[in-house]
């Protein structure tokens, strides 16, 4: 096995290694403090070791240049992440979620194994460089096969609909630093694999592949963000939102694939750059938000935002960091989500004008509209998550009595928050860096006009900062000698000191629940017995229909097949002879 370790050193690998390490450092710092909470019941060394192994195996995946080592590290990544997910094993639900997660990743692993087996069949080699040499000679049938297998294989790990169901189960279960790594980095590793196989090994794919990727990406985005909107568990919301961002990246990749098919390489490079940039940005802000959720959990012991509120006073740093993360994820300039969001939208728009087929145009246009709706919904969801958790008044005792957070956790969050701003403001430089490589990848020589005029965001930020500063000074001057009164909030004359008059998370998204509720299987029940109370439930419809029905089929088959093993010994003897006769007949007939 040792001989397999031989590194790949092209830019794509290095880029993802960069992302992994970039996220790992703050998360590691954060872990130092965060682990205190677990020390009582669980072993800290166990977690630290697993995290180390997890990160190492992720790096292993992205640097391996050979199928076997790729798969080995891939599976190692799954195994270690599984054990991290069930780290708090004393809760039964965690075990269930973990098993579900591991089975899903195993599906992904098996599909990848088969896919690489096909690549081996077509190219005769397990070596990436050998496969690459062959990449021009794939027939379109071969490309279809590899594409479908890669889509399912990597998709199951990325959490594209309908293979996303593990995300909202595994992420809330895992300790928050682990979910930060899983959502921020592990999903990206899957994306790395997809990009390597589709864009580097296959080169150009048939048009239909791009269309499939685009549609799946869009459906994933809208489906998961609408589900995210209706969640009250912070981490579940974030998990769905991760699926949404993956959907966006996927849609951009789909656009890129379609454009490569039309030989519009300049634009394809733009879309690919958008996807890669969003990988980085999402890694930063999503891990930031997960770390924040972890801090909230650490301090209050609950993930349910309807029990929280008013945390901005007791957890100031966390509140500010979450605010930055929220801005980033809802694409507010100059935070980093914005930079990639406009690149993705731009690639949609420019693709519409360049592609000649009217059906493709309509497709891209409708997908673009949905993506825009998605970004609106993302704003809604994260505003809810931040606003309900941190602002207002504490809703329960849990939110009032808050445990102090270790400094290392704050440092970890702070670093990521800084990164979210820096990568946002200086996104033009990052874009030009990435685009250099994507241009190389797609064999574009010379300057790509798609990437001009990208520096406006810096000017914008400068203007914004200057004006804010001026206004701030003006305000300071203006408020001198003015009376400033601090009072309770006015509540129409009633005593306002009632936290339950505030909007809850469920109430906040009520308008959306009313319109899009069916997508998340939203149910509201009002009970009039004694006290009037409202119970609201959501569930994943894909899980309800697809997963449960396939489980039913498996259960049915199990019941039938199990019967073979029971029964009388006489019957078992009969089996031997039946199989003997069948085998004889078959052999005499066909051999």
């Amino acid at each position: 096995m040792l001989h397999l370790i031989n590194f790949q050193k092209d830019w794509l690998s290095l880029y993802f290694v960069f992302i992994i390490i970039l996220i790992f450092i703050p998360v590691a710092i954060y872990t130092k403090g965060y682990i205190m909470e677990y020390k009582k019941h669980y072993s800290a060394n166990y977690m630290l070791g697993l995290i180390g192994l997890f990160v190492a195996s992720m790096i292993g995946v992205v640097v391996s240049n050979n199928v076997i080592s790729f798969l080995v590290f891939w599976e190692l990544m799954s195994i270690t992440s599984f054990f991290l997910v069930i780290y708090e094993y004393m809760h039964k639900e965690n075990l269930k979620a973990g098993i579900f997660y591991f089975v899903m990743t195993h599906i992904s692993g098996l599909f990848l194994m088969i896919m690489f087996a096909f690549l081996y069949k077509y190219t005769g080699s397990f070596d990436f460089s050998e496969i690459l040499k062959f990449s021009a000679d794939f027939s379109s049938k071969q490309k279809y096969i590899i594409f479908i297998l890669a889509l399912v294989g990597f998709g199951a790990k990325m959490g594209i609909v309908p293979l996303h169901a593990w995300l909202p189960k595994a992420h809330p279960t895992a300790p928050s630093n682990v979910s930060a790594l899983m959502s921020g980095v592990m999903l990206k590793v899957a994306l790395y694999g997809f990009i390597r196989v589709i864009f580097i090994f296959l080169g150009s794919t048939p048009l239909i592949c791009g269309v499939i990727v685009l549609i799946i990406g869009t459906v994933t985005a809208i489906f998961s963000i609408l589900n995210a909107l209706l969640q009250n568990n912070i981490k579940k919301l974030l998990a769905y939102s991760s699926a949404e961002n993956i959907g966006l990246i996927f849609a951009a990749l789909g656009i890129s694939m379609i454009l490569i098919n039309y030989n519009l390489l300049m634009l394809a490079s733009l879309a690919l750059t958008a996807a890669l940039l969003h990988c980085l940005n999402h890694a930063i802000f999503k891990s930031l938000l997960f770390l924040n959720a972890g801090s909230v959990l650490y301090a209050t012991g609950t993930k349910n935002m309807n029990e929280l509120g008013g945390l901005h006073k007791s957890m100031e740093v966390t509140a500010i960091c979450t605010f930055i993360g929220t801005c980033a994820i809802s694409a507010v300039p100059p935070f980093n989500g914005f930079a990639s969001e406009i690149l993705i939208l731009r690639s949609f728009i420019e693709a519409i004008t360049m592609v000649s087929n009217i059906w493709i145009i309509i497709l891209i246009f409708s997908c673009g509209i949905i993506v825009a709706l998605t970004s609106g919904a993302a704003f809604y969801a994260t505003a809810k998550s931040f606003g309900i958790t941190f602002l207002g008044k504490p809703r329960t005792k849990k939110a009032e009595h808050v445990k102090a957070i270790p400094i290392s956790m704050n440092i970890g969050q702070g670093i990521l928050a800084m990164l979210a701003i820096v990568t946002g403001v200086f996104s033009p430089f990052i874009i030009s860096k990435i685009s250099y490589y994507t241009n190389n990848l797609l064999d574009i020589s010379g300057k790509n006009p798609s990437f001009e005029n990208e520096t406006e965001i810096i000017i914008f930020t400068m203007i914004l900062i200057i004006i804010t500063f001026i206004l701030y000074m003006f305000n300071r001057v203006n408020s001198i000698n003015k009376k400033q009164e601090i009072n309770d909030t006015w509540a129409c004359g009633y005593s306002s000191d009632k936290p339950y008059i505030q909007y809850t998370g469920s109430g906040f998204v009520q308008p959306a629940a009313k319109i899009f509720g069916t997508i998340a299987n939203y149910n509201k029940k009002v009970n009039f017995k004694k006290n009037i109370s409202i119970s609201q439930t959501t569930s994943d419809i894909v899980e309800d229909y697809l997963y449960k029905s396939s489980l039913k089929v498996v259960n049915y088959l199990t019941t039938k097949i199990l019967k073979i093993n029971y029964g009388k010994i006489q019957l078992h003897i009969l089996y031997i002879f039946i199989s003997l006769i069948t085998a004889l007949v078959l052999v005499l007939k066909f051999v």
Partner: protein, 203 residues
């Protein structure tokens, strides 16, 4: 002479496939094994090979004397004499055996080797006894009939060295012994040798 012995084998085996008394089955088994032993000895006489003599003597010693002794002993100890419940009743068993032997002979009509055909008939009856009877002891006898078929097969087909054949026969004997001991244990723990009680192992 050989034809007569083969007739004995066939008649005894068809007889065994339907009777209920274990003693009768044992008796049939003794006749059958004796006939097989004699056939092997006869072959030895014809060809002049020592192998056949030894195989024949071994067969007669084990299957005519030792194994029936074991069976009778355990039957006496266990106080069972009758296969009370049949999965397939006697009448149908006869018919199945008849049809089975017919089909086997029909399939092998090109072969001139009567040993082979008889061997296959013995397989069928052995399997029938194992599949269609509930008592462990009948199953054991069924297996022994099956083994007899193998001996017939051997004599018709092979030309192995003595050691090997002795090995095969010896292991057959050991198997019968082990089965006997096991039946004894089963009776002691289950208070019956009916395989209906074998339903503990599930899931």
């Amino acid at each position: 002479m050989i034809e007569a012995l083969l007739t004995i084998i066939l008649i005894s085996s068809i007889f065994m496939s339907g009777v209920r008394r274990i003693k009768l089955i044992t008796a049939g088994f003794i006749f059958q094994s004796a006939a097989i032993g004699l056939i092997v000895l006869k072959l030895g006489y014809e060809t002049g090979k020592v192998d056949y003599y030894i195989l024949g003597i071994l067969t007669i010693v084990t299957k005519v004397i030792i194994i029936p002794l074991i069976i009778n002993k355990s039957v006496k100890k266990l106080k069972i004499n009758r296969e009370m419940e049949l999965i397939v009743n006697g009448f149908v068993s006869y018919i199945i055996t008849g049809i089975g032997i017919m089909i086997a002979f029909g399939l092998l009509n090109k072969s001139q080797d009567n040993f082979l055909k008889t061997g296959i008939a013995l397989f069928i009856i052995g399997v029938l006894l194992m599949v269609a009877r509930k008592k462990a002891i009948t199953q054991m006898i069924g297996f022994l009939i099956f083994e007899n078929g193998i001996v017939l097969f051997e004599t018709s087909l092979s030309k192995m060295s003595l050691v090997i054949e002795a090995g095969i026969v010896f292991e057959g004997l050991m198997l019968a012994l082990i089965m006997g001991i096991m039946i004894f244990h089963i009776n002691r723990t289950f208070d019956s040798i009916n395989t209906d009680f074998f339903e503990n192992l599930k899931e």
